[in-house]
């Protein structure tokens, strides 16, 4: 019975803490009374300048610097590969998908893009001009090393 009581107390404390944390976040994101329906924010514009962004760390999947509206990526066809596959990059001058995309999980090379890398947008995403909701506290590894 005593253990039961302790468990309930801990559970209550955790729940209260979570609720307080959540309400704090909601207040910063919402910026309005809870019962009031806010106007939806404007749609952000997708970056379409074809200029590569710096990667935050070496393994970061590069972002997509152009619009991909209506690109069909499914069982039938992968629109991204119409420009980014090895075969066509000379004509399109688009960056070729990296060599890791032609490897299966055992490191064997394949003739075409590996099925596990087929859905580009699992890792690569477009960027928009939306204002960040929260400040980004990411520190680049170079800055981190300099700070030591």
């Amino acid at each position: 019975m005593n253990a039961w009581k302790i468990f309930s107390l801990v559970a209550a404390a955790v729940l209260a803490g979570a609720a307080a944390f959540a309400s704090d976040n909601i207040a910063t994101l919402r910026d309005g009374a809870i019962a009031q329906e806010k106007d939806a924010p404007r749609f952000a514009k997708v970056e379409n300048n074809d200029i590569k962004r710096k990667r935050a760390y070496p393994m970061q999947p590069p972002t997509i610097p152009h619009k991909i509206d209506g690109y069909q990526v499914d069982l039938n066809v992968n629109r991204c590969m119409a420009c980014h596959s090895r075969r066509v990059t000379e004509a399109t001058q688009a960056p070729m998908i990296s060599v890791t995309h032609y490897m299966d999980r055992d490191g064997n090379f394949l003739a075409d893009v590996s099925p596990r890398r087929y859905f580009c947008q699992q890792c690569h995403v477009t960027q928009t001009d939306a204002r960040p909701l929260l400040a980004n506290e990411f520190v680049d590894i170079d800055e981190l090393l300099q700070g030591q």
């Binding site: 300048n49 152009h66 619009k67 209506g70 069909q72 039938n76 119409a82 399109t92 001058q93």
Partner: protein, 195 residues
């Protein structure tokens, strides 16, 4: 049979016994307007979205996701904008070809979505060949190269439009396949206008 035809030939080749020349010419003129107008109206009805989607409702649903259905300026294409030539003689030729498609409809050769998907690459290739042969005429009915402002296009678009398209080496459909439809299995089909 021969006597029957001969009788009618005599009536047609002989002069009118009861009707005046004025009545016959004016009557012919009025009936001409009615029949010609009726024919053209009926043919134009087969160019309407209502007519197309009475069978192709699945394609209409696909079109709704694309820029040719909804976009910032509100100009849109309907089926016939791209699939039927706008000039009258070409239009009649295409409509005559389409009689084969009516036969396919009657015989039920593409009566289910599964049958349609199975034939989809073949059907799409028919249209790609047609547009390749006429230099993407139906695209160019709206998208006229002479009035394209490259400065308003993205760099990627300028790179392709100012070179391969401008020189006539490539035509719209070489790169813009599946612009208003979902694509079929494209393995082995050139998507970047290379071939």
């Amino acid at each position: 049979m021969k006597a029957f035809l001969l009788k009618y030939w005599r009536i047609i080749s002989g002069p009118s016994k009861h009707y005046s020349l004025g009545f016959l010419t004016m009557g012919g003129f009025v009936m001409g307007i009615i029949f010609w107008g009726g024919f053209n109206t009926a043919m134009e009805f087969t160019n309407t979205e209502v007519f197309c989607t009475s069978c192709h409702e699945n394609l209409y649903a696909e079109l709704q996701d694309t820029v040719h259905f909804t976009n910032r300026s509100g100009v849109r294409a309907i089926c016939s904008s791209c699939h039927v030539p706008h000039d009258w003689t070409d239009k009649i030729a295409r409509k005559m070809q389409a009689s084969k498609e009516v036969f396919a409809w009657v015989s039920g050769s593409i009566s289910t979505p599964e049958k349609f998907e199975a034939r989809r690459l073949h059907l799409a290739q028919n249209e790609w060949h047609r547009l390749k042969a006429n230099d993407s005429l139906e695209c160019r009915n709206c998208h006229q190269f002479d009035y394209m402002d490259f400065t308003a296009q993205s760099q990627r678009a300028v790179n392709r439009h100012s070179t391969a398209l401008a020189s006539g080496d490539r035509t719209c459909i070489d790169c813009h396949k599946g612009i208003a439809h979902r694509l079929p299995d494209m393995s082995g089909v050139d998507m970047a206008g290379l071939d």
